[in-house]
Amino acid sequence: MRRARLIALGAACATITVAMFISAHVVGGQSEAASSPTAQVYNPYPPGILPSDLSSETARVQREVDLIEERALARWHTLKKPILTGQPPVLQNTGTEAIETLGELMLYDNKISPGKNLACASCHMPYAGFSGPIPSVNLTMVAFPGTVHFRAGKRTPQRHPYAPFFPVLQYNQAQGLFFGGNFWDSRATGYKLRVPDAEQAQGPPVDTQEMGFPDTACIAFRLSQAVYRPLFEEVWGAGSFDIKFPRETDRICATPGGAAVFGGNTTPVPLSAGDRTRANIVYDRWAQSIDSFEQSVQVSAFSSKFDAFLAGKYTLTADEMAGFKLFNGRGNCNSCHLDGRGTTLKSDQADTSAAAMVNPLFTCFGSANEGVPLNPADAFYYQTKPDSYGFIANPYGFGYRDLGLGSFLRSAFGSGPNPNASWKQYAPTVDGQMQVSSVRDVASTPPQCPSTEAPGPYFQKAFFHNGYFKSLKQVVHFYNTRDKYAYPVTSGHCPKGTTEKVDCWPMPEVRNNIDMTSGNLGLTDEEENQIVAFLQTLSDGFTRPYLNNDTYTGACMKGGSASTQGNEHLIPTPPLPPCASTICGVAPVPSPSIP
């Protein structure tokens, strides 16, 4: 009897063991199947959010990225081998070009994503001034799709030329202002690498809705397999990749971040402490290499008409000069977008002043809330359901509010951790503020689509952090008339008889801390156009060709008016639920409270 029981118990154990084995195998199989980020398309979006050509346009950009990568590889092979010499050792003669080329190769590497389908450049192409390269995305969902089709981020891809010049984020106590950092909300502070642009480059590769690796070690892993690994080792040292990656690294790194299988673990690649440190160093080198490329004269080129004008080699047209005067004068644009010039022109003056700064950057490195309306087309609002990996980007839907710098200082939902607790107290004074980007290259477009403005032929861009504006005319008109045509409505609900963006501006998404320097400037229609004409003088590529500006293979758009450009894609904002407590309820809470 006892023996029979033992046999039965043994059989039961064997059954359970076999079942566990099968179960583990099946789970493993599911995990393998789930490791392809394109396994199942994620589409929680109502009609009108995803553009109909999204798949073909994504493929088009991937081809263009690959082409530029091939060019960079060819350039690398023509580089003379640097000589490491001196004390401290320097890669003499070609060290600069070597590290910049390395950064370029990284920036255009589609393999730096779980699906090997997304590079940094997929959202930042040179022909768009390194902003979003898909016109239909700029026109609709605004945030670009990531490695998992179609998770998407929450903001427009910010232009990165001249971003390397932003200083480490600091609160200037005398001026009562934050200066520096990178990203729209300045969350790449530079606190550790001391270069915000480099720390910015460490964000998207592990952003769940962008390149989407589950672990920063995956970047070291993929770089160790890159064809340009010898260049990396030449620049950063031969032992850089002496890291023992376990066998499962390939599978882990092919699974996007946020997948339920990771259980919230942000270091799922099992590395020894020493190897983890070496992988972290590789990730820092990644960041510094990309920063070197973005800071190079190939990207931050200072090659615009305006630069030629400063050098006395270009005469601004009458409209460009009028726009320049307005930019500094009644438009008051240069109270934040500093032009570095020596004087403000009176109406009867010609500009004869010498350049006050050699390379004016057209930013004060600060942040401001301009009172931009909420853009209901932003794909982020709709990602409320789990994708096939069990990941939810935005559980709050339209309860999400973009408080920009304020959310960052609070380490609130939608931003990153704030490394400086002493800054947190200032959050209510900066709610709604976004970085004052350089206006250089704001008007950059592919050569065959020479404008951002209808009737064109034009290249459709999206402006500001949430892409609400579809033309520079609309941007300038907003600064000019935001308060004159203010209505207490959300986008898509302007009163009958008015036209949104023409004589109706919906209410701000965040009405705290709205900058009142502009909003009712009294500019005429012609004067607005002149400011646009001046902004167009800030596009790089005038004094010499802009690297890889010739790679756009998509179509230009034609027709319509810059004032109403994109209005056919306006959708009504749904009734807004209260702001989520993980955003607006985090101390110190916004003052006044945000509904």
Partner: protein
């Protein structure tokens, strides 16, 4: 002229050498209103008060401040809005938003401005009034 050059030099140096500041202008000895406060916009959801002073200088971020209320002897509400000084401009326009006032109500107000630190520019304006729609 030499004063203007000095201001320019300060502006340029402060921007190009230190980076993490906006160009500043020296603080004006006295801040005066040169265009009186008035209602720029009066809607049922938003009122904007606007006035102009000489450029107060000091911190590049300034706040326009409106003290207001329904009793001219008790202006117990305060609204403030940030603006950026333009160091090249001789004057500065302040504009302040007052949200969600009561309809068809007489409001009394005075204005002031202050630096980012909260230090008042010591502007004095008489008590004005307006009626909301």
């Amino acid at each position: 002229m030499s004063g203007a050059l000095a201001i320019l030099a300060i502006s340029v140096l402060s921007c190009s050498l230190f980076g993490q500041v906006s160009p500043t202008t020296p603080q004006a000895p006295r801040v005066r209103i040169i265009e009186a406060p008035k209602v720029e916009l009066a809607r049922d959801y938003l009122t904007i008060i606007r006035w102009t002073t000489n450029n107060p200088g000091g911190s590049p971020l300034h706040y326009g401040v409106v003290h207001y209320g329904t009793d001219p002897h008790n202006l117990n509400e305060t609204a403030k809005s940030p603006i950026r000084l333009n160091p090249d401009h001789p004057s500065t326009v302040f504009r302040v938003r007052l949200d969600d006032l009561k309809p068809q109500t007489i409001y009394y107000y005075t204005v002031d401005s202050m630096q980012a630190s909260g230090k008042s520019d010591e502007v004095k304006s008489p008590v004005n009034h307006f009626t909301t729609p």
